[in-house]
Subunit: 682 residues, 2 copies
C-alpha cells in the first residue's frame, strides 16, 4: 500500500499514513486530537481543517457555508490521496480542560466534607514491615513461608496469596534487605468470606515510603487521576485531560457504535482511554519522582459505558432496549490486564454501577456524600452529556438518567464550546440597550460559549425580553438582533472582539430551543422522581451538584431558566468531581468499598418514560422556567419583562404565549421522543 506524508500545521508534525486514510485518523496518528461529536460520520462539522498544500479527496459532509467559504474541509470526510500540508484551526482541536483535574474553582467546603474520617482508614493496599530470622540448616523453611510467619507476627493472618511477580523477586529482595522487608498487602473484598489478602510487592529493608494509589474518574469527556498517599489518604497530585476516546465521538452512544460496528473498535476505545490515563499517571509520577512499581492500587469510577470500554467489555446492549450492560459489578483485575502503567500486579477496582445509564461514577459520588445517613431527602445531580440523579434518604433511593444532549458540553449550539480558555462563562445583557458584557474562562478573547455561559444567556435573553417563555425570539430594535442563515439570532460578541476575528459570536433561536430541551429534560427527570415518591420539590432538603460543569453553574440563572428546582440557595452544594472523590474513599477504606456495593444495590433505577410521568413533565418543562409557575415562586415573583414592556395587558399576552408555546413544545418533545426511541440516552 502506498504511504503518504501529511504535515500538520501549526504544530509542524509529520506523519506517514497509508493512502486513503481520513485526515481525522491521520491527525490522531500524529498525536493530534481533533474534535468529533459524530464519530467521523461527517455530521457534526467539528473537525474542520484547511488544506494548505496537496490535493486530497474531499467527501463533503455537514460544513457551514461560512466554513466552506474559508476553504475548510471536514477532516473525517477527507481522504489522504496525496502528500499534504494541513492546518488545524484552534477550534477544531481538543484543548486542555480547565477543570479536568477534579479540583474546582468553587468547592463549597462548608457543605461538603471528607467522609474518610467517618469510614476509617483501611486502604486497598497497606505496607507491613517484617523482621525475619535468617535461615539456617535447622530453620530452612522457604522464603515465602518465612515471610508469612513474619506477617503473622505482625498480626496479619488468613488466606494470604502472593503475586507471581512478588514471589519471583522474593529471594533476592529478602537477602538484599538482610531479612528486613516491607510487604505491600492488597485487601480484596469477598462478599461472603470477608477480605482476602494478596502480597503485591515486597521491598528490601524497611521502607518509609507510603503505598501509593490512584483514584480515577473516567468521564465521557474528561479523565481525572488523583495520586494518593495511601497511608493517609492525602491527594498528592491531580491530573486531568480530555478522554482521547473523543476522537471516536463525543457521547457514549457514538462510542458504543464505534466499539461495536467498527472492526477492532472496542479495542480502539479501550486503548484510547487507557492511553489517556497513562499520560496523566506518567505526569503525576514525574512530579513526585515515583516509579510505576510504587503505585500499587487503583480505583476507577466511570459511567457504565466508560467502565465497559475501560475493561474491554462488550457495550453493545447498553444502547439497545432493554438496555442491558454486560455487568454492573466488575471483577478486580490487575493493572497489567487493564493496561495501566503502574505496578503490573496492582489491583484495579472498578466501582459498581446501578444500571446501563447510572454508573459507578454516580455510586462513587454517593460515597462522597451521606445520603444514606439522613432522614431528610437529598437530591444528587451530576450534569454532563447525560444528567444522572439520585433522590433519597436513609430509607430509600431512586436514581435516573436523562439525555441532556451535548448542549452544555458545547455540542449542538452554533458557538457552543467546552469550558476551556476563551469560552464565555458568564454574561450580562443590559436591559434597554441590549449591550452585552461577557466573562471568559482565563480572561482570553472570546471564542465561543461554554455551558455555564449558555445558561446565563438563556436567563438574560429572557430577562431583557429578547426571548419569550417558550424560547421564541422577540424582535428588539437593536443591531444585535438580526436574522441569520438559520433564523433569528442575537449577537453576543462582535467579530472584531473575538479571538478568531472573522465572525460574530451569536446565539440563535434554534440554539435556544436546544437549550430548552436540555434543561427541560433535567428538570423533568427531577420532577418524575419526586412524583414517584409523591413529594413536592420543597421536600428536598439538600441538593448536591456534582461535575465540573456544576462547579461553574450560576445557581440563580439555573433556577430562573428552570433547570434546577426553586429552592433556597443554602440548600445547594457544589461538590465538584464527586466521582474521583468517591474513588479516593474506596481506595482508602474498606467501609467505602463495601458501601459502594451496597449502594449500587440499594438504588432503584427509574427508567424514564417507562410507566411514569416523564414525557408529560418534559413537555411542561420546555418553558422558562416552566409551564407551572407555581413550581418557581421566586422566579414568578419577579415581574416579567413582557409585563414591563406591555403593562397590564402583558400578563394575558404572556399566558397566551405560554399556551401557544406549549403546543410548540409538545411537537418538539415529540421529535425528542422519536430520537430517544432510537437510542434513548444519546
Amino acid at each position: 500500500m502506498n504511504r503518504r506524508t501529511v504535515r500538520f500545521m501549526p504544530d509542524n508534525r509529520v506523519v506517514q499514513v497509508p493512502e486513503g486514510m481520513d485526515l481525522h485518523r491521520a491527525a490522531a496518528a500524529a498525536g493530534l486530537e481533533l474534535k468529533s461529536v459524530c464519530g467521523g460520520e461527517g455530521t457534526c462539522g467539528r473537525c474542520a481543517v484547511k488544506i494548505l498544500e496537496g490535493k486530497p479527496e474531499v467527501g463533503g459532509g455537514n460544513l457551514s457555508p461560512r466554513a466552506k467559504k474559508q476553504g475548510l474541509v471536514l477532516a473525517c470526510r477527507t481522504l489522504v490521496t496525496d502528500d499534504l500540508v494541513v492546518e488545524i484551526p484552534a477550534d477544531s482541536r481538543l484543548a486542555d480542560h480547565q477543570l479536568a483535574d477534579g479540583s474546582t474553582g468553587r468547592v463549597l467546603a462548608e457543605n461538603t466534607y471528607d467522609r474518610l474520617a467517618e469510614f476509617g482508614l483501611s486502604p486497598l493496599c497497606r505496607k507491613v514491615k517484617v523482621k525475619l530470622p535468617e535461615p539456617s540448616v535447622t530453620e530452612n523453611g522457604s522464603d515465602l513461608s518465612r515471610l508469612l510467619l513474619g506477617l503473622k507476627e505482625q498480626g496479619v493472618e488468613g488466606d494470604i496469596t502472593i503475586s507471581l511477580d512478588a514471589l519471583r523477586a522474593l529471594p533476592e529482595t529478602l537477602r538484599q534487605g538482610s531479612w528486613d522487608a516491607t510487604v505491600t498487602l492488597a485487601e480484596i473484598s469477598c462478599r461472603e468470606t470477608g477480605p482476602r489478602l494478596e502480597i503485591v510487592r515486597v521491598e528490601a529493608g524497611h521502607s518509609e515510603a507510603p503505598p501509593y494509589g490512584l483514584a480515577i474518574d473516567i468521564g465521557t469527556t474528561s479523565n481525572v487521576v488523583h495520586l494518593v498517599d495511601m497511608s493517609t489518604g492525602t491527594v498528592l497530585e491531580r491530573r486531568g485531560t480530555y478522554n482521547r476516546q473523543a476522537m471516536y465521538g463525543d457521547d457514549v452512544i457514538t462510542r458504543i457504535i464505534h466499539a461495536t460496528e467498527e472492526k477492532g473498535g472496542l479495542n480502539d476505545l479501550r486503548k484510547a482511554v487507557v492511553e489517556t490515563l497513562n499520560g496523566l499517571i506518567e505526569s503525576a509520577l514525574l512530579a513526585r519522582d515515583l516509579d510505576q512499581e510504587e503505585i500499587v492500587a487503583a480505583v476507577v469510577a466511570g459511567n457504565t459505558t466508560m467502565a465497559h470500554l475501560f475493561l474491554g467489555l462488550w457495550p453493545g446492549y447498553i444502547r439497545l432496549e432493554p438496555y442491558i450492560p454486560a455487568a454492573t459489578s466488575f471483577p478486580v483485575i490487575r493493572a497489567a490486564e487493564a493496561g495501566l502503567q503502574i505496578n503490573p500486579v496492582a489491583p484495579v477496582l472498578t466501582l459498581p454501577a446501578v444500571a446501563s445509564y447510572v454508573g459507578g461514577d454516580i455510586v462513587s459520588g454517593m460515597l462522597a456524600i451521606d445520603v444514606e445517613e439522613h432522614e431528610e431527602v437529598t437530591l444528587f445531580i451530576d450534569i454532563g452529556t447525560n444528567g444522572e440523579m439520585v433522590l433519597g434518604n436513609k430509607d430509600w433511593m431512586i436514581t435516573c438518567s436523562c439525555s441532556m444532549g451535548p448542549c452544555f458540553e458545547g455540542g449542538g449550539i452554533t458557538f457552543g464550546m467546552r469550558a476551556v480558555p476563551g469560552a464565555i462563562q458568564r454574561l450580562e445583557i443590559e436591559p434597554g440597550t441590549y449591550e452585552v458584557k461577557v466573562t471568559t474562562i482565563g480572561g482570553a478573547r472570546p471564542r465561543g460559549i461554554a455551558g455555564t455561559g449558555l445558561i446565563d444567556a438563556l436567563a438574560k435573553l429572557r430577562s431583557v425580553g429578547i426571548i419569550d417563555r417558550a424560547g421564541a425570539f422577540h424582535r428588539v430594535p437593536n443591531r444585535r438582533w438580526r436574522t441569520g442563515a438559520e433564523g433569528p439570532e442575537f449577537v453576543l460578541v462582535w467579530a472584531e472582539d473575538t479571538e478568531q476575528g472573522n465572525q460574530d459570536i451569536v446565539i440563535s433561536e434554534s440554539d435556544v430551543k436546544n437549550l430548552l430541551r436540555a434543561k427541560g429534560a433535567a428538570y423533568a427527570a427531577i420532577r418524575t422522581m419526586l412524583q414517584t415518591m409523591e413529594l413536592p420539590p420543597e421536600a428536598i432538603s439538600r441538593v448536591f451538584i456534582a461535575g465540573a460543569f456544576g462547579s461553574y453553574l450560576n445557581l440563580r440563572d439555573s433556577i430562573e431558566i428552570g433547570l434546577l428546582p426553586d429552592l433556597p440557595p443554602e440548600r445547594y452544594s457544589f461538590i465538584g468531581n464527586s466521582s474521583v472523590k468517591g474513588s479516593r474513599l474506596a481506595l482508602m477504606s474498606r467501609v467505602a468499598r463495601d458501601k459502594a456495593e451496597t449502594l449500587a444495590h440499594q438504588m432503584t433505577n427509574l427508567e424514564l418514560s417507562e410507566g411514569n410521568t416523564f414525557m408529560e413533565e418534559f413537555v411542561s418543562a420546555l418553558f422558562l422556567p416552566h409551564t407551572d409557575l407555581s413550581l418557581f415562586p421566586s422566579v414568578a415573583a419577579v415581574p416579567s419583562p413582557d409585563a414591563n414592556a406591555a403593562g397590564a395587558a402583558g400578563t394575558a399576552a404572556a399566558s397566551n404565549e405560554a399556551a401557544v408555546g406549549a403546543g410548540e413544545a409538545q411537537s418538539q418533545a415529540q421529535t425528542q421522543v422519536n430520537n430517544e426511541n432510537e437510542g434513548q440516552h444519546s
Copy 2:
C-alpha cells in the same frame, strides 16, 4: 554483527546465527537438541558433532581420544566463525523417551489403584448448565447478574468471580445461546475460607463436552502431559518427551547454575520447559481435535527446582546451604501467566513441595498411594537423577533426598545412555564362558547401556565372579576381559554387533565404582530413615517404586546389588509415574488438592548427613550387596562365586577382600562427601 549460516545434517536444517555463537546453541536455534550434562562447560563430552564443511573456532574440552580420532568436536566449545555444515551423530542427540508418557510397560495393577473413588469427584473445573430468563424492560439486570442468578438456581453460591476474558465474551455468548449457557467454574482452594469460585469460561447453549484438564509431571529429564476428561477423570491422551531444559544441563544443579549465572538464564529455562509442555499439549489436543480454549485447568507436579523454573522463581538458594527454596507452596496462576497454550485464564495449580530436594512430584506421588491411611510402614522411592524417598505410616512420615548421580540416567558411565531404543535393558552373563546375552529397548542393535541394564550388569558381573564385593575387577581368562584406556574393562557387546559398528560396548572398573556410589547412596538413605525411626528393614510392609526407571527395574538384581532392601518381592510395587498420577488426582478432587497441602506439611524432611548416620551408612553400602550381609539374607544365602572358584579358602579371601574394599570405599566416600559439600544434591 555478522551472521553465519549453519546447516545441520542429516536433518538438513539451516539456521542463520550471529558469528561467535557456539554450535550447541546454534543447533537449539535450529530446533535440534543436543545432549548436555555439564551445561555447556565442555566437560561432559556429550555434544560431539562433526564439521563437514567450513572452519569454525574449535575450543577443545573433554573429548575422548576415540572421538577426536573420528574428527568430532564438542558443539558447546565450537564457535561459528564461518558458514558451516555440521553432522550431528545420533549419540549426541536428545532422543524420544521410551516411557516418557507416564504409561509403563509394567504397572502392577494389583498393588496400585486409583484413589479417585476414595477421594470423590470434585474437579478443579466443572461445567454447570444454566437457563436464563430473557431480559426485558422490567428484568433488566446486567448479563453477569443474570448469569449469577442462573448459577444460584443450580445451587452454585458464594463468592463467584469472573475472569475478564469470560466477562468480555459474555454478552454475545448469552445471546448466541438464546439465554442457555454452560459455565465452566474453577474452584480455587483457600485454606481459611474454603473454596472460591471463578467463572473461567462461558459457552453458548448447553455444551455436552466435558471440561478438559491437564495433569502434568515436570521431571528433570522427562516431561509428561496427560489430557483428562474432568467430568470423569478418564485420561484421554498421554504425551511425554525430554525436558528441553536438557540443553542447559542434565541435572538440577547445572540448570540452577545456568538460571542464576547466565544473563536471561532463568527465562531460558522457564521457556524451555514451557515450550516442551506446549509441544506435548498441542499433540494431545490435535489427537482429540480440541481447541486450546477447551482446556480449562492444569495441575503441575515437579521437583522443587522444576517448579521454580516453571514458574520463573529464583532457584539460586536451592543450591546453596542451607538450601532455601523461594517457596514450597505456590500461588495458583493463570495459564497465560505460565505461558501454557491452553485457555489463557485456566487456573494452573503447582503442587506444593516439602523442601528444596523433596518436591511436589513426591507429594504428588504420595497422593497416588495411601501411606497416610495405614498403620503399617510404607517406603516410597522415586529414583531418577536424585533419589527421593518417603518412609511412614498414618502417624508419621519422614522424607529425604540423596544424589544418585547421573549413572542410572546414562551419565558418568562410559556407555551409559538413557532408556531409548538401542539401550541395553537386560543382560545375562554365562558363568564360565562369560558369553553375554543382551536385550535392548525396542530390540534395536545395541548402542549403549540403560540404567536397568547397568544394574543387571553389576549383579551379573558379581555373580559370575568378574567383580568382587567391593567392585574391583578380577582378571578372568576370557577375551572379553581386557585392560582399556581407563583400566580393566569387560566387553558386553562386540563392535560388529553394535549399532555404531565402530567400537565395543564395555563396562569399566570406574563405571562399576560409579554405580556402587549411586546404589550405595540410595540404600544408605533408606537405612538412615529406618535408623532415625529405630526400625529394621523388615518393618517395611510395602515398598512403592515410582518413576519410569523403576518400572523397568529388575527387582532381584536390584536387591542383589544392594540397591533395594532385601524384602520379599510381594512387598514391592512398581507404580510408574506416580507424579503425573497424583497430578490427575489433584485435578479431579478437592480432597486430593487439600491433602497435597497437608501431606507437604506432614512430611519431616531429613537432611542427609545433618545429625544422622548417612555417611557411615553410605560407606557401608559401597559393597555388593553391603558390608553387613545380615541385611541381605536372601543374597548371603546364595554361595558366592569366589567361594565357588576358590573352595573353602575362598571365604577367608572374601573377608579380606571385604576389609580391603572397605578402606577403598572409605576414601571414595570421602571424595563423594567433598563433592557433596559443593552442591550437595548434584
